[in-house]
């Protein structure tokens, strides 16, 4: 009996790295994984640290005193904060819904072997991945020709289509929809759009989830469009608000010697550092909460998308 279990235990390690090597792997992987998550935990701790503790021991994983002061101050930001939070959610939701609709509609005919212009439209979207007009011409076309300046369109439209997502979506169609199904639906007299919505979409739900998540994350993390097209504070998304706070703080601290009395006033009104850390927490929190649920979809999507396009 003991001999058997011994042999069994030995068999389990057959063609495995030795226990010692595996331990080293665990240490390396564990350290790297910890490095990936610790900075976020650190910022959360800082946001709950008391100003006095920071003055004496600096930012620390174990502050001398905890406090909710930073969050009280964040709420004092009032309208601007909620407005930015709203903007971020609004841009993310509208952008994702429209973007996914366009993506699915574009990818579906590219998967249809009987679509005559399939090759042309595949190339039409793929080509934009390898060549483009560049930042300035795109900026001038969007701003001067399409009127994207200080409006929500400027924060949504320039990111609506992503050829990479189209490839992911098309691959999902190819791997999960049997072509006979479409022929069967057509013979049953189903129109192209009703075939797509009633027959095909339910099958590719995981693909839609993947593309939707990637798009939503891209919109949530977006601030470059705001840097380019927006000057009106009412339209700032959360990410850009955070960036602007940092810029103001830098500006004042660098010029405080020149500004004299005015700077003392400015410094007093300056959002302090714990408060900015609290805003960081506000931004990351929705992602961190949803992350365990959406991770597997994104992994599935990226794995599929990287398969030869």
């Amino acid at each position: 009996m003991t001999a058997l279990s011994h042999r069994k235990g030995h068999a389990l390690r057959l063609n495995q790295v030795s226990a010692g090597t595996e331990l080293i792997f665990h240490i390396i992987l564990g350290l790297f994984a910890a490095c990936c998550i610790l900075p976020f935990i650190f910022v959360v701790i800082i946001s709950f640290s008391a100003e006095s503790s920071i003055k004496t021991i600096g930012y620390s994983f174990v502050p001398a005193q905890w406090s909710l002061e930073a969050y009280r101050q964040v709420f004092k930001l009032g309208d601007q904060l909620w407005l930015s939070y709203f903007n971020s959610f609004f841009i993310t939701i509208v952008g994702t819904v429209v973007s996914v609709a366009i993506c699915v509609l574009y990818a579906y005919p590219l998967f249809r072997k009987d679509f005559k212009l399939r090759g042309f439209f595949t190339f039409f979207s793929f080509f934009t991945m390898i060549f483009g007009g560049g930042l300035i011409p795109t900026y001038i076309v969007c701003k001067n020709l399409l009127g994207m300046s200080n409006n929500y369109a400027a924060l949504i439209v320039p990111m609506l289509v992503n050829p990479f997502n189209i490839i992911i979506m098309r691959t999902f169609f190819q791997t999960s929809v049997p072509f006979d199904l479409i022929e069967a639906a057509t013979i049953d007299g189903s129109g192209e759009y009703s075939t797509l919505t009633r027959v095909i979409l339910p099958i590719v739900k995981p693909g839609i989830a993947t593309v939707a998540l990637l798009t939503a994350l891209a919109y949530w993390n977006e601030w470059f469009l705001c840097l380019l097209y927006i000057t009106d504070r009412h339209l700032y998304p959360l990410q850009y608000l955070l960036m602007e706070m940092q810029r103001n703080a830098e500006f004042i601290s660098r010029n405080s010697s020149v500004m004299g009395a005015a700077s003392a006033e400015a410094v007093r009104n300056l959002p302090n550092q714990t408060m900015r850390m609290a805003v960081v927490v506000f931004i990351v929190l929705p992602i961190a909460c949803a992350y365990p649920f959406f991770q597997r979809y994104v992994v599935a999507g990226l794995t599929i998308g990287s398969v030869k396009g």
Partner: protein, 319 residues
């Protein structure tokens, strides 16, 4: 299958045309977007060769181009300034080092992860490693700031406590090539590790067993079974990265160094250069020229890399 369709086509002529039309309406929204936001700006490249005149009420946007003078390659003269050399060196240097380092790191981590017997822990590591990929650089900049802040940063305080003169991180360019490299690896390694790991999981286990029966050690199995299977995906990712060799992650170089001027010699890259030269000098011609060169070089690189790969091993090429 093909013959079957060809035989049917003449009979279903009008139905076929109708089908094509319906499918065209589906492609239309995306195609219109691509024309407006991607293809139209390509004509804007002409601005790289013009002395651009700002649009006015009398001459709105496309019309003003007709009134701008043709200056040939004058806008490309910036290439011969030291600023341009610095930013080209930075862009290429960071990209080359990061492509190589990222590849080795991600493949190594993926192989280690595939060898773990406790699958639950492997899953946990993967989840944690992938997390930074989903955050913006603006947020990541604050993570770094918590360590490097000149007054309260953890590293700075530790240096003070140890009696060492603290380093003024945001004013010392010499540390930033390393800091930026760490940041880039921190954010992007998880992504490529996931890709490589899923490729490894797809390998037929019996190949390893066969190799083991033949007396191959774990190390030999990695060299002769795992790596050959990873080759296609490594090549695809390499081609994509080589195509982007002249592009930099704007967010990383813009927000992580907190826009600190003393750091520009090591943080200025093509993308930030284009943006800054447009923003602060308003020189449309020159910044368009820089962007155009960036795209042109990227295009040539990706075509070149793909052509080379196709010659060596046709199955691995991207297109």
């Amino acid at each position: 299958m093909l013959r079957h369709q060809a035989a049917r086509r003449p009979v279903m002529g009008s139905a076929g045309r109708k089908k094509t039309l319906w499918l065209l309406t589906m492609v239309a929204p995306g195609a219109i977007w691509l024309i407006l936001i991607r293809y139209l700006p390509m004509f804007g490249i002409v601005m790289a060769f013009l002395d651009y005149r700002l649009p006015t009420r009398k001459m709105p946007f496309p019309i003003n181009l007709l009134h701008s003078d043709w200056v040939g390659l004058d806008n490309f003269q910036f290439l011969f300034t030291s600023d341009a050399l610095t930013m080209i060196r930075n862009t290429l240097g960071y990209n080359i080092v990061w492509i190589a380092l990222g590849l080795v790191l991600a493949v190594a981590l993926a192989i280690m992860m595939s060898e773990l017997t406790k699958k639950f822990l492997a899953k946990t590591y993967q989840t944690l490693m992938f997390f930074p990929y989903f955050l913006s650089w603006v947020v990541a900049a604050y993570f770094l700031f918590a360590f490097l802040d000149p007054t309260n940063g953890m590293i700075v305080r530790a240096q003070k406590a140890a009696g060492v003169t603290p380093i003024d991180w945001y004013n010392e360019p010499k540390y930033w090539p390393v800091i930026l490299t760490i940041c880039s690896m921190w954010k992007n390694t998880g992504y490529s590790t996931v890709l490589y790991l899923s490729a490894i999981t797809g390998i037929d286990r019996s190949q390893y067993e066969a190799a083991a029966v033949d007396g191959a050690t774990k190390w030999q199995q990695m060299l002769h079974v795992t790596l050959p299977h990873l080759k296609p995906i490594i090549i695809v990712l390499l081609i994509m990265n080589v195509g982007k060799i002249f592009n930099a992650d704007f967010g990383l170089f813009w927000s992580v160094p907190m826009n600190s001027a003393p750091l520009f010699p090591v943080t200025q890259v093509v993308d930030t250069y284009v943006y800054r030269s447009y923003k602060f000098t308003g020189d449309v011609g020159m910044s368009t020229a820089a962007g155009f060169l960036q795209n042109l070089v990227g295009f040539i690189c990706i075509m070149g890399a793909n052509a080379i790969v196709r010659r060596l091993d046709a199955d691995s090429s991207l297109f």
